[in-house]
């Protein structure tokens, strides 16, 4: 189980059919349809007749980029998921279309993610991480230089955490898993995956900044994107608010101790890689699971900030 878990964790983003209730699936499709319609409209305005080949090939790039991995430790490897990178380099509307194409094709061709739950997967792997990562990047990147890369790293990491949180919430709302387990488990596993994502996003952006800086400084689009920052922050806040609200949901909170026990057994391996992030914190109840999640997020965010600063040094 411990060897399986991390590669499997990347799979944990693609929800298969059957794991979400029909109501949740349809609501997600509704939200997704609005975002996709807006993205199509904005992208058509911005890219005109270049849109289709550009978005199609960039989607294929993200798919291929996800194959590039690097060894982290103990037989695990880090790799790209890509929403933050796609949104930063392509802009939010084209970025979302590319991510959407990736998710749709993965479901249609490889059954990686279901069809009826596809709306939820588009929210979890495209909309939420994309806008969250992009908003954080836009908020800090204006200071330029290393801050730009650090912002991308933090954005990429938070994006993955947001995605994990959304998946956990959707699963618990559907009664497929218990919130008290799903939230810390998903966040815990993805805190590690997020580091891989952040490192590779930062390194890719550093490379692009050196070889083709004009890609990252398209004036017209940066201006148009101010509205998107607000949108992204709104999504982020919404998700953050959701999580304590949802903790009030009554699914089996009386047996939290047992849950935590089960969790401890199942999640042992990945947590050993991050020894400071310990299980006992989670032991007492719904509120502390959220608290643990937030503490974890903050700790790793600080870590990420230091790491991304260090990462830049050798190449200057």
């Amino acid at each position: 189980m411990n060897v399986m878990l991390l590669p499997a964790a990347a799979q944990l983003m693609h929800i298969p059919d059957g794991f979400l209730s029909l109501a949740i699936s349809l609501i997600c499709w509704g939200i997704t349809a609005v975002f996709l319609a807006l993205a199509i409209r904005n992208a058509q305005e911005a890219f005109d007749e270049r849109l289709i080949p550009l978005a199609g090939i960039m989607a294929a790039f993200i798919f291929a980029g996800q194959m590039i991995n690097f060894p982290v430790a103990g037989g695990t490897s880090g790799h790209l998921i890509g929403a933050t990178l796609a949104f930063i380099v392509l802009g939010p509307s084209l970025g979302l279309l590319a991510m959407a194409a990736v998710i749709i094709l993965q479901a249609l061709l490889f059954q990686d993610g279901g069809l009826v739950v596809m709306g939820a997967n588009l929210i979890g792997m495209g909309i939420v991480p994309g806008y969250a990562g992009y908003a954080i990047y836009q908020f800090w990147q204006k200071r330029g230089g290393r801050m730009q890369l650090a912002a991308a790293g933090v954005g990429a990491w938070v994006a993955i955490m947001m995605a994990a949180l959304v998946v956990a919430l959707l699963l618990s709302f559907s009664g497929t898993t218990s919130l008290a387990i799903a939230v810390p488990a998903m966040l815990g596993v993805h805190a590690l995956i997020g580091i891989g994502e952040a490192l590779i996003t930062v390194a890719a952006l550093a490379f692009i900044r050196q070889t083709r800086p004009q890609l990252l400084s398209r004036e017209g689009e940066a201006q148009a994107s101010n509205g998107w920052i607000a949108g992204g922050i709104a999504v982020a806040i919404l998700v953050a608010l959701f999580s304590p609200l949802a903790s009030a949901s009554p699914d089996g909170l009386e047996s939290v101790a047992q849950q935590a026990g089960f969790l401890g057994a199942a999640q042992d391996a990945p947590f050993q890689l991050l020894p400071d992030y310990t299980i006992p914190v989670l032991g007492d109840g719904g509120a502390s699971t959220i608290a643990a999640g937030i503490i974890g997020v903050l700790v790793v965010a600080g870590l990420m900030y230091t790491l991304t600063r260090n990462l830049r040094k050798p190449s200057e």
Partner: protein, 265 residues
């Protein structure tokens, strides 16, 4: 990498393969929606849905073993769902001691878990049958016909075309990295360097791939313009609904409705 790496089409001469792709998409989606509507523990209905699935895979000449192997993809998610066995309130079935913790599986939890598993497993197998019996370009045509927004469908079509090319390019970058990274003196590390260094190399590969993809999109755009593209992508969809398509589609829909009826009797 072989050119078939990303193809999931199983070439056969069956009635299911020849069925109009629209019918297959609609019936598959209806089947999955209907599965989601089946209540926990509707064993007879689950059985009937499985019978329908067996019938389709038999008619499509797709082996059950093959289907079973591909359907393992839902595995990792069962890990997320298995927790309901212990968290859903109900009558305790047993008591397991696991270190300092006691786990109590409940009957309601077990029922929920098994039902989630069955629904998901049935759904994913029908989706697998859809791609196994339909060439992906035909699936794209079906989306066109079914009024999925044109821009989105066209993007997916381009993505499909360049999936293999770009994955191959990524593969070449990975191979080049491997051929240059020798094992360390102690023989332990074949990856070399610090974590950051490794991440940097991988990031540079991603960046490289991104720039090449950008350039390729320019060249492809030029090739499109050279053949008269002016922003409106036209396609010909060589599919026409025959009466047999309507009939088989109708049979599928009736079967799905019957399964719902069985679940509610």
């Amino acid at each position: 990498m072989h050119v078939n790496t990303f193809d999931r089409y199983e070439s056969r001469q069956s009635a299911i393969h020849q069925l109009d792709p629209r019918v297959k998409v609609v019936v598959t989606v209806l089947f999955i929606v209907a599965n989601a509507l089946l209540p926990d523990g509707a064993w007879l209905a689950f059985l009937a849905a499985w019978a329908l699935l067996l019938f389709v895979s038999g008619a499509a000449q797709i082996g059950l073993g093959w289907l079973l192997k591909r359907s393992l993809i839902v595995g990792p998610f069962l890990l997320a769902a298995v927790t309901v066995v212990f968290t859903l309130p109900g009558n305790g079935l047993a008591q397991w001691q696991l270190g300092p913790w006691t786990l109590v599986p409940t009957d309601a939890g077990l029922l929920r878990f098994v039902s989630i598993f069955i629904r998901s497993w049935l759904s994913v197998q029908m989706a697998i049958l859809l791609t196994a019996t339909t060439q992906f370009p035909d699936l794209i045509h079906a989306l066109h016909h079914l009024r999925v927004p044109n821009v989105l469908v066209s993007i997916i079509s381009f993505m499909y075309r360049y999936l293999f090319e770009l994955a191959n390019e990524a593969g070449r970058l990975l191979r080049a990295r491997e051929s240059r990274s020798a094992a360390g003196v102690n023989g332990r590390s074949s990856s070399g360097g610090s974590l950051f260094w490794r991440a940097k190399i991988a990031g540079h590969m991603v960046g490289q791939l991104l720039l090449r993809s950008f350039e390729r999109s320019d060249r492809v755009y030029n090739a499109m313009v050279a053949r008269g593209y002016n922003g409106r992508l036209l396609t010909m969809n060589p599919h026409h609904m025959k009466s047999s398509d309507w009939q088989l589609g109708g049979v599928g829909v009736v079967a799905i409705l019957l399964i719902q009826l069985v679940a509610r009797l």
